[in-house]
Symmetry: C2
Subunit: 244 residues, 2 copies
């Protein structure tokens, strides 16, 4: 009981500290478009941003939600997914530390077309819409940077379309493992640091959960990966690259 209280206090204290931290000094902004803002703009944004801790599994926003700002991801990873008419969720993109979340809806001034769910504990800063929009319309360097970011997302989306249309489940799953390995890294023991359920793998790849499980089992038999519970360790990266 006492321990729980201490724990809650510490968490709140950390939040408090985070709420106080300044965008101007934040290292994270180096990785996204916010780096193109001027010192003054950052100070202004800093004063109206709110910091949040989001727990694993928590929904950040739902499909159809109106987003009143963007999230700057300070730590953790989340998935962006869309519910298909057949009732299955399709993961469209994963967003990591350093990236912005929710830009698209903000720019289109539409409700979100995607749902965002935390894949591990996250720290994010929420920046209200009005601030960002104002900067987009005043600071051409910033808006060009956001534009480049979006152009990159679009290119990645094109690649995913081609993969979905032309590659087998086995190939797509192999590529998903490589992508997760390369983008999010591994734990000290070599297992993939982002822990996904088999269902998540299925909805990245666009297949039935059973099929994803089966293919992972096959990869295991072939020595391409090993598993410890839900943890997956890539044993033969080049082997995965050669999967057909």
């Amino acid at each position: 009981m006492i321990l729980v209280m201490i724990y809650l206090f510490l968490q709140n204290f950390q939040n408090y500290k985070r709420g106080m931290s300044k965008c101007e000094q934040c290292i994270i902004k180096q990785f996204n478009s916010l780096k193109s803002l001027t010192k003054e703009e950052l100070v202004r944004i800093s004063s109206c941003k709110t910091s949040k801790v989001i727990k694993k599994g928590e929904v950040i926003f739902e499909e159809g939600d109106t987003l009143n700002g963007v999230y700057c991801v300070k730590d953790g990873v989340c998935k962006l997914s869309k519910l298909s008419e057949n009732g299955k969720d399709q993961i469209v993109k994963m967003v990591v530390k350093g990236q912005l979340l929710g830009q698209r809806s903000l720019i289109s001034d539409e409700s979100s077309n995607l749902q965002a769910v935390a894949l591990n504990d996250m720290e994010v800063c929420f920046i209200p819409k009005s601030e960002i929009i104002a900067d987009l319309q005043k600071n051409p360097k910033f808006s060009f940077d956001v534009l480049q970011d979006m152009a990159n997302d679009l290119k990645e989306a094109d690649d995913i379309i081609v993969n979905m249309a032309q590659k087998s489940v086995k190939q797509r799953l192999a590529e998903a493992l490589i992508y997760i390995n390369d983008s999010f890294g591994v734990n000290p023991d070599g297992t993939l640091s982002v822990l996904l359920s088999r269902e998540d793998y299925a909805s990245i790849v666009g297949t039935a959960t059973e099929s994803a499980i089966r293919v992972l089992s096959q990869f295991k038999k072939e020595g391409l990966i090993t598993t410890v519970g839900k943890f997956i360790k890539i044993e033969d990266l080049n082997g995965l690259r050669r999967v057909e």
Copy 2:
């Protein structure tokens, strides 16, 4: 022989006229981001643009090409596709009259990730990179407009990913027919005005040409469409919408 000469002369004359036409007065710009440029910017762009007629089947640019500008499509339709590792082309997007072509590569300052091929005779204006980039960096209204355009492309791409991953070939082909009907319209006799080969349909849907043909035959049997040669006429739009 004489007829050929007259024909060539007329075509050149038309080209000449087109080269002379002014962006400021062009109706087409209303449909894309160019509408956000000032009168002065449009005059400047007008003076350095070149008009081109592109014949059906002609390649506008290849995957890997360096684009030195964007195309404003004055008439006609083209397909944007990407070659998959399995040797098949996947159509990622179709671009019609009124839209811009090649923005993404220009903004990322990368070579094109896609190939563009005319699906019917086209008229385009080519605007050199330097002009557009200058305006993007000076005119925030313009760059915000391009940003909105790109955000919309990204949303569409997300939808395609979900469809590819979760829907059957039959459903995807039905949706492709509806899309082509709604976006590009029909001829006086009711047939789809954009004439695609069965192979094109296959590479929109992401399936084998034979499968596309088979599904079209099935739609025909079910009375959803009729065909006259390669021409397709939608007979039951709601039926197509209900395809499972």
